[in-house]
Symmetry: D3
Subunit: 137 residues, 6 copies
Amino acid sequence: MATCVVARKVQFCAAHRLHNPGKSDEWNRTTFGRCNNPNFHGHNYEVEITVEGEIDPETGYVVVADRLKRIADEHVVANLDHKNLNLDVPWFTNRLTSAEHLAVYCWDQLAGRIPTGRLTSIRVAENAVNSVEYRGA
Amino acid sequence: MATCVVARKVQFCAAHRLHNPGKSDEWNRTTFGRCNNPNFHGHNYEVEITVEGEIDPETGYVVVADRLKRIADEHVVANLDHKNLNLDVPWFTNRLTSAEHLAVYCWDQLAGRIPTGRLTSIRVAENAVNSVEYRGA
Amino acid sequence: MATCVVARKVQFCAAHRLHNPGKSDEWNRTTFGRCNNPNFHGHNYEVEITVEGEIDPETGYVVVADRLKRIADEHVVANLDHKNLNLDVPWFTNRLTSAEHLAVYCWDQLAGRIPTGRLTSIRVAENAVNSVEYRGA
Amino acid sequence: MATCVVARKVQFCAAHRLHNPGKSDEWNRTTFGRCNNPNFHGHNYEVEITVEGEIDPETGYVVVADRLKRIADEHVVANLDHKNLNLDVPWFTNRLTSAEHLAVYCWDQLAGRIPTGRLTSIRVAENAVNSVEYRGA
Amino acid sequence: MATCVVARKVQFCAAHRLHNPGKSDEWNRTTFGRCNNPNFHGHNYEVEITVEGEIDPETGYVVVADRLKRIADEHVVANLDHKNLNLDVPWFTNRLTSAEHLAVYCWDQLAGRIPTGRLTSIRVAENAVNSVEYRGA
Amino acid sequence: MATCVVARKVQFCAAHRLHNPGKSDEWNRTTFGRCNNPNFHGHNYEVEITVEGEIDPETGYVVVADRLKRIADEHVVANLDHKNLNLDVPWFTNRLTSAEHLAVYCWDQLAGRIPTGRLTSIRVAENAVNSVEYRGA
């Protein structure tokens, strides 16, 4: 049986602000720069979900492509798309809305729901130059 | 003298919300869908600035590349990058923050400041599939 | 009233073959090269639909973004996506399935259905290097 | 001696259909959705070939760039480009033409032919959002 | 007969330097900045060639795709790819190697050689943010 | 504590030539082909810097984004952008200016300067199809 890694990208756009309420305004401005703007800014985010597993000889797939997309749409995109990450997503109430934390969020939403194979990586890109990858705890 | 068209792209990321305060919440939700989210969402915007003019035989340029970039940075990017278009940019106080209006805004900021040649088009893309182009009144 | 041009991209993937049945096999092979392969080949196609019109001050839009997408999905993507252009799309029964003809097909499907503004261009790209644009008869 | 990983992308376009002849039409439609279209559909495929090895101090290369390209063109692109994967490529006679199997096919074609270094990964992308990676048995 | 516009991209990489020998070193540094580096710098250039004409009902093409590519390869890419524009291309002996002039060069090389239809535009991009377009004298 | 991988891309354009002075002209032409052009050629290079570390709960970052960018700009981009790699960068005096060696150069410049986390990979792309990755000695 051949093992293969499957990756699927989904996208969402959202507003957010990097701000640590336990720190001074000065610390926040110095640490986060323009990302600390009080009225938020936003991005077109791209999330790449990677699943590893054996190729099913009946389908040729590691995981049926449409099922993976439906799970990502339901448990990641529906919660984040056209939202304010700081105000509209309860998971971020006590967490900074960094790309690192977004990757952990996506992992938590998806790791237990992959129908065949197992989640091995979440990559989150905020733009064409910055991205993070989380591979689980 | 050869006439040539020069295009330069700049980028910014911003939060915004489409909402017409003179209309009902129902109308706004129906017309703008998820773009009406009360807490804003956001994009990585790309602006392409097009200038037409004669090639200067001393420089080979229609417009000195660095000067065009500096003007765009000062009069467009500095005002919009890491901002909330609805709350942080006075020009939008009484205007919807659609890509169409963003293109008109960029035109108004730049048309009188092009050092050589003349501004012929502003193209604003909100993402990889949606864009608008404004060519002046 | 400001006039603006709005562009939206949609995508589909399809099989096709370039073959003129009124010509010899030799002529077809010479003219179309590998695109004449009897068992078809295929592409991820991208269609950019451009609409020009006045910006509606109540919406900030030339055309409501979601309506344009829905029309394109219903009258272009649904007919072409995951299809064989030669065998599954009746419009091509007596026409070569070139990118040029695809652009004319999209125009014919969309020109009468744009709710506000008017269709001004259809651009069809077969890949990252080849595209055609049709602006109406 | 420094070890380095070299990656090269090649492209081809092809028609294909996902269909398991040992299963019912109903099963095939449910499992493969639109990818089961009887008359095929197609893609612009991208294959990224990764080779790991020591940098040769005489060339600065892990593997001479042109040789790697020529091997990929001869043993992958020539067999797949402008072809119908189901009908024109004997390797797929008894295999589903999924991206996973395409990656295994490319591996089998290339693993024994890398002149210096060793093949470590084949990544196949069907479009901008779906890809698979195979790293050998 | 339907009129259509066909565009094809070709690529080349080259070294160049912006320097006007009739001006002082100071003027050259101020005008061209880092592009004036005495030992040259370089780019991956992209040239998009646009041809307008009627669709030939026998081929479905405005211009046979392979012929256009062969002409571009022979008369543009072969002369510029892996070259130093200042030292290896005689046309630039007395001209600045700006993108504007490159577009004029490509036009001069191609305008008389388009087999069907007529050349309407040459777009030259030096990178992802800067491009110029020349539409003839 | 969650471990995460952060990647940032920077870009530069440069001229270079592949030539081993200890070998014959014939050997150089055969081995490097057009990359051996005596007057140099050039590229728009892209460098992706990957840092792995624990997410700092006070910032949500593995490494403060702006600090990483400033270090890359100061120790990589400033040395290579708009330069001739063979003539302007002393590190290459006795080394071939291959992408492999560029990756090692960037590693040497950055590995000791990452403020939090540790450098795990440098990926250098010369164009859209060729890239190399170096993960340290």
